[in-house]
């Protein structure tokens, strides 16, 4: 028996790029994050062949979850075909042999930046969000150890100060993305820069959401069927973006999140932000159920309240 026979055949990389120990550590952190919804779990963020800030957090989580049977969808700002999404998808597939799809309902792992798809995700699906800044308290305290203390004490009063300032200056909540939300009535999280439109989708969702910040080395989770409540004053309810009357120029669809395309004559055209959804709609003429129906009603009736203009 020779040494060559005993040794493993030579491979350039471990399966799914990261070594076994790194993946094991990450999976343990993910389990902890799921066990304590909304709590930011520190982890050892590994080097990857993409730069920090390009989705290393989300990519590490995806790589630790992926298997040969997985079906992966990667989107960036809702689009499957943007450079960042295409690169990440190609890397995951090359390193794991997983299948890819642009159909939200067929994906088992869905890595995203900035959007949660329009179609309702179901049980057994995992949504991996790339997070630039995981700390919701950064706006009110620059000191990270103080922030940790405030989280421990569930002392979130100062978060409402940011909302107060917005109401005084603009008479509405103007925070467009990463709208601070209370998870499981315990921890306030900063959902990865998804628009306000997508924040309610996390509430009592059937799918698992994992949020991971590679540069900040923290991950947190919203487990399936968990309460998520955007912060709001008792007399001024949280609002999603008002896109009333915005019609997609290619599909003619309304009441879905739109990209605004400014025109040379000063007007605007609109198109669906979720390209996978638009494609499915164009090719088959029908889609699965969406979070907001064609009249713009959210699928949890009564969760979104009518707007109130605060008096100063």
């Amino acid at each position: 028996m020779t040494l060559q026979e005993l040794a493993q055949p030579r491979q350039d990389y471990s399966y799914a790029f990261m070594d076994a120990y790194a993946k094991r550590e990450l999976r343990r952190r993910i389990l902890k994050a799921i066990a304590i919804p909304g709590y930011q779990v520190p982890y050892a963020s590994r080097e990857l062949p993409i730069a920090r800030g390009w989705g290393t957090g989300g990519l590490q989580v995806s790589l630790s979850l992926v298997g040969p049977e997985s079906v992966v969808k990667v989107i960036d700002q809702g689009a499957d075909d943007s450079v960042n999404a295409a690169n990440l998808r190609r890397f995951i597939v090359r390193m794991s042999g997983a299948q890819t799809t642009t159909d939200t309902t067929k994906a088992t792992i869905l890595q995203s930046r900035h959007r949660i798809p329009e179609e309702i995700m179901g049980e057994g699906q995992a949504l991996v969000l790339q997070v630039p800044d995981p700390e919701p308290l950064r706006g009110v305290t620059a000191d990270m150890s103080k922030a940790a203390q405030l989280h421990a004490d569930m002392d979130y009063g100062q978060m409402w100060l940011l909302l107060y300032e917005q109401l005084v200056r603009y008479r509405q909540y103007i925070q467009g993305a990463s709208y601070p939300s209370l998870v499981n009535r315990r921890y306030v999280i900063s959902p990865s820069p998804i628009p306000r439109w997508d924040t309610p989708k996390l509430h009592q969702a059937a799918h698992l959401t994992l949020l991971s910040a590679g540069r900040e080395k923290r991950l947190y989770a919203v487990p399936p069927y968990t309460d998520v409540q955007p912060l709001e004053f008792s007399d001024v309810p949280f609002q999603i973006e008002n896109q009333q009357g915005w019609v997609c120029q290619t599909t003619g669809i309304e009441n879905k999140f739109m990209n605004e395309l400014p025109q040379a004559d000063g007007t605007s055209q609109y198109e669906l932000s979720d390209s996978g959804y638009a494609e499915k709609l164009a090719s088959t003429g029908t889609t699965d159920a969406t979070y907001y129906d064609d009249q713009g009603h959210f699928y949890h009736a009564g969760y979104l309240k009518p707007p109130v203009l605060p008096t100063l």
Binding site: G157, W160, L161, Y164, L167, V168, F233, V236, T311, L312
Partner: protein
């Protein structure tokens, strides 16, 4: 013989009464050491409800440290501190855990610092600075917050048309009024003033002192006032403590101390002023 039966009734005077209530604030045997430096040595502070206690002394005499200890920002090496609050009368506040101490501090102690940067968020609105206290205390109605901020700012005689300007663009006197409004927002039992008018010019200083004095009269607030300015102490304080090298060298009624100082250092201090 003098007939006293139909003499006009004499004017009514309340008989002087013994103070039988316990002091609102009682701190005993405070010691605080920073490395080799003994900042505060065996200091006792008592203040009755509605009383203004002044602490004077030169820079480095430990007066600001005493105020930090009273504000529960820091814990001493030894000593006890009680506030006569409902249900807390015999509770040593330094023995509480951090969260309980913070709750007591938010709900019952207001503080105004010499430097407004310490007490205010300079880029947030003035009304937001005031509302912050209520937010931390758990108020979640926007209308209530606006109303409370307006009332509190009016109390400290802040011009209400500027209530949504950030303190960054306000004058020094106005910044101190915002700090005062913030300190008073939750109607605290105890108000701590750390050199509240130092750094203001004399006329503005007089206006701010006026507000403080009027508030004290109206609300019977208990105030601990730290200052190196004997003029401020004379205007506001009922009782005064003179500190040097971390110790209290003399204490008594303000008039008595300032007119007839017994301790050599106090004599020097009073004469330096005159």
């Amino acid at each position: 013989m003098l007939d006293i039966s139909n003499r006009p009734s004499s004017p009514h005077f309340d008989a002087p009464q013994l103070v039988t209530t316990p002091p609102l604030l009682r701190a005993t045997g405070l010691h605080k050491r920073y490395g080799r430096i003994e900042a505060v040595v065996d200091v006792n502070v008592e203040a009755y409800a509605g009383e203004v206690v002044g602490i004077v002394g030169e820079s480095g005499s430990g007066k600001s440290t005493v105020l930090r200890l009273l504000n529960l920002e820091d814990t001493p090496d030894s000593g006890t501190y009680t506030l006569d609050l409902p249900g807390m009368a015999d509770q040593d506040l330094y023995a509480l855990d951090r969260f309980a101490r913070r709750t007591i501090q938010i709900m019952n102690i207001g503080v105004v610092y010499q430097n407004p940067h310490l007490g205010l968020r300079m880029r947030f609105t003035s009304s937001g600075n005031v509302a912050e206290r209520l937010l931390i205390a758990g108020e979640r109605s926007f209308a209530t917050l606006r109303q409370a901020a307006r009332e509190s700012l009016a109390t400290s005689e802040f011009p209400l048309d500027r209530m949504d300007d950030p303190p960054r663009v306000l004058s020094g006197g106005m910044q101190q009024r915002v700090q005062l409004a913030k300190a008073l927002a939750l109607k605290p039992a105890l108000l701590l003033l750390d050199e509240p008018t130092t750094g203001l010019d004399v006329s503005v200083q007089a206006l701010v002192l006026d507000t403080l004095k009027q508030l004290q009269r109206e609300r019977h607030m208990t105030i601990v006032l730290v200052s190196h300015d004997l003029g401020v102490i004379r205007t506001l304080a009922d009782r005064v403590m003179v500190m040097r090298h971390g110790r209290v060298v003399e204490q008594g009624l303000t008039d008595q101390i300032l007119e007839d100082p017994q301790n050599a250092y106090t004599q020097q201090l009073v004469h330096a002023k005159l």
